[in-house]
């Protein structure tokens, strides 16, 4: 299991290619990449704040839970903090398993929990100013699926 919290950019392709490479029992790898979205075409940057002491332990706890629930060969979670440009990855998750159902479900589970239970906060900076991204009820509701 790999958990990284970093200011540096994430090369999702390189991470994917390096993930679960030595496991011969892996038949399915699922990756999720969260990207800084700029729907209005007005986003200058996204600032990610986090809780340094708590972040890695909170993510590790979520990843441990995924490993308990599904038969996974490996799990990867990388989350950035600091200023991010539109179109760049904010974070990525990867899961490896013998079969696709476990890999898909575990990645979906990890994303739902990282979204609402890992201590990160997003602020969007546009020409109109800066504003914290509000949590969505739908994201909290998504946790009830698991």
């Amino acid at each position: 299991m790999t958990v990284r919290v970093q200011a540096e950019p994430v090369d999702a392709g390189a991470e994917l290619n390096g993930f679960a490479q030595d496991r011969h029992d892996v038949g399915a790898v699922v990756s999720f990449t969260g990207v800084v979205r700029d729907t209005q075409g007005d986003l200058q940057e996204m600032l990610i704040e986090h809780y340094p002491g708590m972040t890695e332990s909170a993510i590790t706890k979520i990843a441990d839970e995924a490993v308990t629930r599904w038969d996974l060969a490996d799990v990867l979670v990388i989350h950035r903090y600091g200023p991010l440009k539109p179109g760049t990855p904010i974070m990525m998750v990867a899961t490896a398993a013998a079969h696709r159902a476990a890999a898909f479900e575990a990645a979906d589970f990890l994303m739902d929990y990282l979204k609402s239970r890992a201590p990160f906060w997003k602020k969007e900076v546009t020409s109109k100013g800066a504003a914290w991204v509000a949590a969505k009820d739908a994201d909290e509701d998504a946790l009830k699926r698991w």
Binding site: A58, F120, W132
Partner: protein
């Protein structure tokens, strides 16, 4: 006790962390104490349903006891991922 703030809670209170001398028994008691001090705390803690709390870096509840706790963190609902 170390008290830390994140996101707009930090911005409203105007600092990322501070040491608070308190005998507050629970998180709610601590909040009441802070709100009575200054307007910026009253503004930050006006609606605790919009807040989350972590005790020693574990998510917790507002009625949780503070005995033995060394770090209390207040922040809005998380928006990771």
């Amino acid at each position: 006790m170390n008290v830390v703030y994140f996101a707009w809670v930090r911005e409203r209170i105007g600092l990322p962390q501070e040491t608070v001398q308190t005998d507050a028994a629970t998180v709610n008691d601590l909040i009441a104490e802070l709100k009575s001090r200054e307007e910026r705390y009253a503004a930050a803690f006006a609606d605790t349903s919009a807040l989350r709390v972590a005790l020693d870096q574990e998510l917790s509840d507002f009625d949780a006891p503070l005995a033995g706790v060394t770090e209390v963190a207040f922040f809005p609902p998380m928006t990771g991922g």
